[in-house]
């Protein structure tokens, strides 16, 4: 398995697009930190940019890469290798190289400029978001054989989690404004890895006041050790479950 992962990582790192992604992230983060004199403000702007670009890139790149490695998968399948090993190697290879790109592009400036505890949180959240969207890419690409459809599904997933979901929540809040829905909001955020990541960072930046009364409820919940633990478990589930479903499908797929 190590050998296959090595081959995949080398193959991805040779790819110019991943280089472009790293450069893009580093331009964004270095410029944000040098434009803002307040590092917390810088981190806040970076958070918004990162939560848009990282998921988009992770899911689209992984989906396209998976479709393009159809030949590679086929070649490996006729060799004495377990199917789950091939699929997991692809997952590991993609995740590790995207994490590396994120670390070099955004992680280093974050660690240099921002206060250590928030910076560290931002790094971990970025890692989680990358992994979650690679995992979703695996799900999107196993659903259909058609490359165009697969990429379409992955873009829709990205759109849903970064934009549409917030719209739905906002709509619901307006509709149910008469009811005490603050506690429910905590549950709803668990359904969106991007929102969950955003809240984790916002709470660490002490700007949760901006979220109003809901912010206070969030603070009460996610501010505690239990809440933090819960948040990471949910993010971990988001990273594992879609991949696991795709793995089961891949094991029974005809090629």
């Amino acid at each position: 398995m190590k050998r296959i992962v090595k081959f995949i990582i080398l193959d991805i790192l040779k790819n110019k697009i991943i280089l472009f992604y790293t450069v893009l992230l580093s331009i964004l983060s270095w410029s944000v930190f040098s434009l803002e004199d307040n590092n917390t403000k810088g981190l806040l702007s970076l958070l918004n940019v990162v939560l848009l670009t990282v998921p988009l890139f992770a899911i689209v790149f992984s989906t396209i890469y998976l479709y393009n490695s159809a030949e590679f998968i086929e070649l490996l399948l006729s060799q004495p290798i377990r199917r789950s090993k091939i699929w997991s190697s692809l997952f590991l290879g993609l995740t590790l190289s995207l994490l590396l790109a994120y670390f070099i592009g955004a992680g280093i400036p974050i660690l240099i400029y921002s206060p250590p505890d928030v910076g560290f949180m931002m790094l971990i959240v970025g890692f989680f978001v990358s992994t979650v969207f690679v995992s979703l890419a695996f799900l999107a690409s196993i659903i259909t054989r058609d490359k165009a459809k697969g990429i379409g599904i992955s873009i829709l997933l990205w759109l849903f989690f970064t934009i549409l979901f917030d719209g739905l929540i906002l709509f619901m809040m307006f509709q149910l404004v008469e009811y005490p829905i603050e506690k429910m909001m905590v549950v709803f955020t668990a359904f969106n890895p991007v929102d969950l990541s955003r809240i984790l960072i916002l709470l660490h930046l002490d700007v949760s006041v901006m979220l109003g009364y809901t912010g206070a409820v969030f603070k009460d919940f996610f501010g505690t050790k239990m809440g933090l633990f819960f948040a990471f478990i949910v993010l971990l589930l988001w990273a594992i479950v879609p991949f696991y479903i795709s793995l089961i499908k891949f094991k029974n797929k005809d090629l």
Partner: protein, 240 residues
């Protein structure tokens, strides 16, 4: 070596394999023939575990292949259309397969030299012609000295010289006591190679005979003619 029992597979509503029963033994060279879309490639892919049958069982060397993968280290497979990662060179593909397989068997690199691939090892897979890609597939199939060789339309894209070299290679492997499974439409090419013929049609095995039986039954001395005779007889039976 390979025992297939009650193998059944359908894609959607299309039944591709309808309860296939076949047994192949060591030292045999079997030709799997039949019209396009009769399920030959699906059968081969089921043996390799690339297609998962809906029903039935396949045993390779006494072990069921279900949820098993180690048996594939005894199989060399040459696909009908070899598909390889575009941006890898011939040398890199061979090297990767060697590393992944990590086989303890002695490597058999005769074909690399015979096909003169060692002169173009640096060429990328996407720039190769269909025939050269087939040569690469052939090299990989024979590389690990596997006991079972499965060749799907091996000579279809090869030039006459390469095809002759390839047939010599198959003959020499056969003499080593390996099981060789070939699908082909070029019946004339199979004459001096195969020992048995399996004829499939619409997912059913029509007959599985040795060459001798086939020839005596029909009174012809060429496989192609023998098959033609059988098909004619069948049509006559239907019409009458």
């Amino acid at each position: 070596m390979i025992v297939i029992s009650d193998l059944y597979k359908k894609f959607g509503k299309l039944e591709v394999l309808k309860n296939i029963n076949l047994t192949f033994n060591k030292g045999e060279c079997i030709a799997l023939i039949g019209p396009n879309g009769c399920g030959k490639t699906t059968l081969i892919k089921s043996i390799l575990g690339m297609v998962i049958p809906d029903n039935g069982e396949i045993q390779v060397q006494g072990k069921s292949i279900c949820n098993n993968y180690e048996y594939r280290s005894n199989i060399g497979y040459m696909p009908q259309i070899g598909r390889y990662p575009d941006n890898m060179s011939i040398g890199a593909v061979c090297e990767m397969i060697k590393q992944i397989r990590n086989s303890r068997n002695k490597l058999d690199e005769v074909l690399i030299n015979e096909f003169k691939l060692n002169e173009i090892l640096g060429k990328h897979m996407r720039t190769l012609s269909g025939g050269t890609t087939q040569k690469v597939s052939a090299v990989i199939a024979f590389l690990f000295n596997a006991d079972i060789l499965i060749l799907d339309e091996p000579t279809a894209g090869l030039d006459p010289l390469a095809s002759e070299l390839f047939k010599e290679k198959i003959t020499s492997e056969k003499q080593k006591g390996k099981l060789i499974l070939i699908t082909s439409h070029l019946l004339s090419e199979l004459d001096d190679l195969v020992t048995q013929v399996v004829f499939m049609q619409e997912g059913i095995v029509h007959f599985h005979k040795t060459i001798l039986e086939l020839k005596t039954d029909t009174g012809e001395d060429k496989i192609s003619k023998a098959i033609a005779t059988i098909l004619k007889n069948k049509n006559n039976e239907k019409n009458s």
